[in-house]
C-alpha cells in the first residue's frame, strides 16, 4: 500500500541561482547561502523561518548540519540525502510529504559548489568500484558513453543527433545572460571536437562550473499569502535501477520510466501537456533517453525527436531553456538548477528565453551513471 502524493499541497515560493560560472574566493556554503537568502527573500522570509533544511555539499558528508550552522539556524528536519544530481528532486518529493503532514512549514532546498575554481574539474567523491577500476573507466564519462554506444547500436541514433542536443542547449544559453557557455557552436565545431570517450567529445559533456541554487517550499495556503505566483508541486517520484553501469538492466532504458510515470500520474497530466521540460543533461545522450523514458516520444525515437532543431528555441518542445548542464552551468550536482529554471518559466521571469504561457513544467534529475532518476511536475499559480 502506498500513500498518494499530496498533489499541490505544497508550493514553491522562492527560487534563485547565484554565481553560475567562476566564483574564485567563494566557498560552497557561501554561494549556497546567497542563493538561499535571495530565494527566501522573494517570499519575505529569512533564514530563521526555515524548519526543514535539505542540502548536500560536494565534499562534506555532514554538509547539512554544517550549512545549518553556517546559516545560524536549528531546523527541525535536516535531510542530507545523496542520490547524486537527482537529490534535489528527491528533496522536493520528501518536503511535499512533510509539509502536507504538518511536520514542517518552510523547506529550504539549497546547493552550492566552487568545484571549478577550487579543483578545476569535476570533483569525484564516490568509492571506486573494484571491478571497474582495472579497466580505467573515466567515470562518469565512460558509463554514459557506454549507454550512448548501445543506443546508437540498437536504434541507429547518430552522432549528429547527439550534436543536435548540444547545439540546442547552446542556442538556449545564448538567450540566457546568466549562462556560462554562450559562444557560437556549429555542427561542424561539434563534429570536429576531439574524441574523449567514444562517441563523446567535449561538447557531449556538461560544463564544470561553480554555482549555487535554492528553492523555498511551503504549504499551498501559506504560499498564497506570501507571494503572487506560487508554483504548486503537482507530482514527484523517484526510482533507481543500479549503481554501476555494468549493473544497469538495459543500457537504453532508465528508471525515469518509473519515476516519470509515477510523477505524471500524481499530477494527473500527460507529457503532451508539458510546456517546459528541464531534463538533467550531464551528457547529450541523457536528453534523448529522458525524452523517451518520460514519454515525450517512443523508445528509440529520441534522436529523431531532437533532429532539425526539435528542442532548440522555436522547436517542437522547449527543453533545457536555461542552456542546461551542457551550456548554462554544472557545479557537480545540477538537479536543483532544473527546478529553478522550471519555476522561473512558470513565473514568466525568463526574458528572451521565456516560453509563452508556460503552465506546466517537468524538472527531471539524474544521479550516478543513469542510476537514480527523480521527476518533479510543477504547475502554474492559476492551477492552485
Amino acid at each position: 500500500m502506498s500513500a498518494p502524493f499530496p498533489r499541490a499541497a505544497a508550493a514553491i515560493v522562492g527560487a534563485s541561482t547565484f554565481g553560475m560560472g567562476k566564483m574564485p574566493g567563494w566557498e560552497a556554503s557561501e554561494l549556497a547561502a546567497v542563493a538561499s537568502r535571495d530565494a527566501l527573500g522573494q517570499a519575505g522570509l529569512i533564514f530563521d523561518d526555515v524548519d526543514g533544511l535539505f542540502f548536500c555539499h560536494g565534499t562534506d558528508t555532514l554538509g547539512g548540519i554544517s550549512f545549518a550552522q553556517y546559516l545560524g539556524i536549528n531546523p527541525k528536519i535536516i535531510d542530507n540525502n545523496r542520490t547524486g544530481g537527482s537529490a534535489f528532486q528527491t528533496y522536493v518529493e520528501l518536503a511535499a510529504y512533510l509539509i502536507d503532514a504538518g511536520v514542517i512549514e518552510t523547506a529550504l532546498i539549497a546547493y552550492g559548489s566552487n568545484q571549478a575554481s577550487a579543483a578545476g574539474k569535476l570533483v569525484n567523491t564516490v568509492l571506486p568500484n573494484p571491478h571497474e577500476a582495472p579497466y580505467r573507466a573515466m567515470n562518469p564519462f565512460s558509463g554514459y558513453a557506454l549507454a550512448a554506444s548501445r543506443h546508437m547500436y540498437e536504434f541507429g541514433t547518430t552522432k549528429a543527433q547527439l550534436g543536435e542536443v548540444a547545439l540546442a542547449a547552446r542556442k538556449w544559453a545564448q538567450l540566457n545572460p546568466a549562462a556560462f557557455a554562450r559562444d557560437p557552436l556549429t555542427m561542424d565545431d561539434y563534429l570536429a571536437a576531439r574524441m574523449i570517450n567514444d562517441p563523446f567529445g567535449k561538447y557531449d559533456a556538461c560544463l564544470v562550473t561553480d554555482g549555487a541554487a535554492a528553492i523555498v517550499m511551503t504549504s499551498r495556503e501559506r504560499a498564497l499569502d506570501l507571494v503572487k505566483a506560487p508554483v504548486p508541486v503537482l507530482g514527484a517520484a523517484q526510482a533507481t535501477s543500479h549503481r554501476d553501469i555494468a549493473s544497469m538492466p538495459d543500457l537504453t532504458v532508465t528508471a525515469a520510466r518509473e519515476s516519470g510515470a509515477a510523477a505524471f500520474a500524481a499530477a494527473g497530466i500527460t507529457p503532451v501537456e508539458i510546456d517546459v521540460a528541464m531534463l538533467y543533461d550531464a551528457f547529450t545522450i541523457n536528453t534523448i533517453l529522458f525524452l523517451e523514458d518520460l514519454g515525450f516520444c517512443p523508445k528509440g525515437e529520441g534522436g529523431a525527436f531532437v533532429a532539425n532543431g526539435g528542442i532548440a528555441p522555436g522547436g517542437r518542445l522547449a527543453v533545457n531553456t536555461n542552456g542546461g548542464g551542457l551550456s548554462c552551468c554544472h557545479p557537480g550536482m545540477y538537479g536543483l538548477f532544473t527546478l529553478v529554471e522550471a519555476v522561473e518559466q512558470l513565473q514568466d521571469k525568463c526574458g528572451a528565453r521565456q516560453v509563452p504561457d508556460a503552465r506546466l513544467a517537468v524538472a527531471h534529475g539524474n544521479g550516478g551513471v543513469l542510476s537514480s532518476q527523480a521527476t518533479v511536475i510543477l504547475g502554474h499559480h492559476s492551477t492552485i
Partner: protein, 79 residues
Amino acid sequence: LLKAASCSSAARRAARHFSRRACDPEPDYNIVLIDLDEGPRLMSRVDGIAPGAVTIGMPVQAKIITENEAPTLIFEPAA
C-alpha cells in the same frame, strides 16, 4: 561465446590542463561491457585488436593476464 554489450574507446590525455604540446597523449584503450553466456554483465577490455575496432555483438573469449602485478580478466576476439 561471450558478447560485447557496449564499447567505448577512451582517448585519455594526461594533464589536460597543461599545454597540449608539452605532453603526448596516452594511447587509446577500450572499455567494454561483456555479456557472459551465464547471464551476468561485467566491465572489461578487449585486447588483441585496435581499440576502435571493437564492435557491439562481437564474440569474445576470456583471458586472465597479469597487469600491475595483479591477475586481471580481459577478453580477446573469439578465434
